[in-house]
Symmetry: C2
Subunit: 272 residues, 2 copies
């Protein structure tokens, strides 16, 4: 999916919500467990309930990989079920020497037809370049939402920049606004405004709203640009809003509530 | 597998060779392609041919993942086939927020029973801690063998250290010599001696000998410690030493040649 289509979808739905499919056998409603493929059944109902409000779905690959080959079958069925106009992100955090990164790109872009995947940048340029393709997206970790982000990302370099700033600036030289985004954690809203100055045009994928404690209005205030430029992810807050047979209607309510807030934010900003 | 068992095996085989199973349908001998599971058949014959000389096998997960669920089945069969006394490393370069890293650890330690997996450290402590278990190993990227290593790992921090030094020192505070190793590229032999001073006791997993251009004797001179402390990986140089029906005997010769050089190195150093 290209940038124009993504922005069109955001404006049409008045939403920049990404729903994280962190679907976990230990957490999905127990009545699904007797079915043949509980993870897919859960995802299917979550997608039906939220597709009106979400512009992207982001399966967290760890949750599927853990289940062995069957997990990847659930993932494939989930991808086939997601409406074609919705953006799909493999939250995989891959990255290796060029030859291997090329195979990871083939895995997620070709074997599984994702639009995008998240990339760990530690290994540098040749680990990232294979993920850059027309209409496909490398979403590079910039400043993440977890406590450990302080350990390495937030160290200062002798050039005066933080590691995460240096990473994002260099990567933005390799990828353009049509094939690269950055992960910037919502728990770091105080940094987002500065990062928006540094990287004015690329989309930011922002996890950490909700369960991890970030505020949507703070993120939007700091991170919106004239093309919106934000995808804000919520996983647990939506997919586990309910734990009983009504889980999908509870998920729908939770997604709708976030979308409403986003609509209000976009409208006030004159973006829709 | 614990550290003592690993060192015992190294001394018994007089080898610190890790064979990288970067098994690729495009590169394995064509006569295997008509079989039901060509990747497993290839690995099986490579393992039979090299197990006398290798102390570790390291499947590169990208090559299996790319093939969809069937690739993971080939991987499982390969793991089941590797003799139990040989160390197994998932070259997966995973790492995510704590909750997700915990699932990646379960994937590779429990679902697939690897002894170890490679970890990308960008997300810091809580992305790494879930991989630390008794008798299991987090092998953290320190200084990698690729060109892109210079982009971020080799940047200097205001504390006077390079990013890779800071990463390795901090990680060595979290993991001990019995549950953590570091990836240090053979193409950086000039750095290995310094890193050995900084991190005297942990094992280093060293890729990049052979196809990527690193020298075994340089690596050994710089990196050996009193417990050996090195696993040196060769992938393409062994598994693709031949491309015809004699591929396994060619792989055997290539592995034997490296083992002989290692035996000579260990003997001269008084370690066997």
């Amino acid at each position: 999916m290209n940038r124009e289509n993504l922005i069109d979808q955001i404006k049409k739905k008045k939403s920049f919500l990404c729903v994280g499919l962190d679907s976990d056998l230990k957490k999905i409603p127990s009545h699904l467990l007797e079915l043949d493929d509980p993870i897919f059944e859960f995802n299917k109902q979550i997608i039906d309930a939220t597709k009106e409000y979400a512009v992207a779905y982001k399966p967290n690959i760890a949750f599927y990989e853990m289940l062995g080959p069957k997990g990847w079958e659930s993932l494939q069925k989930t991808l086939d079920y997601i409406p074609k106009e919705i953006f799909t992100i493999a939250d995989a955090k891959r990255g290796d020497i060029g030859n291997t990164s090329n195979y990871y790109a083939q895995t997620f872009y070709d074997t599984y037809s994702f639009d995008a995947l998240t990339i760990a940048p530690y290994m540098g340029s040749d680990s990232i370049l294979p993920f850059l393709r027309d209409d496909k997206w490398a979403i590079v970790l910039g400043l993440t939402s977890n406590k450990g982000a302080m350990d390495f990302q937030n160290q200062k370099l002798i050039n005066g920049k933080f590691v995460y700033e240096h990473v994002m600036e260099r990567c933005a030289e390799w990828g353009n606004v049509g094939n690269m985004m950055f992960v910037v954690g919502a728990t770091r809203a105080e940094y987002i405004a500065d990062l928006r100055k540094l990287i004015p045009d690329h989309f930011f994928l922002v996890p950490g709203v909700g369960a991890q404690g970030g505020s949507l209005s703070d993120v939007a205030k700091a991170g919106l640009n004239s093309d919106i430029g934000l995808l804000v992810n919520s996983s647990r807050g939506i997919i586990y809003a309910g734990s009983g047979e009504d889980f999908s209607s509870r998920a729908k309510e939770a997604a709708k509530e976030i979308q409403s807030e986003m609509e209000s934010i976009l409208s006030k900003a004159g973006l829709v």
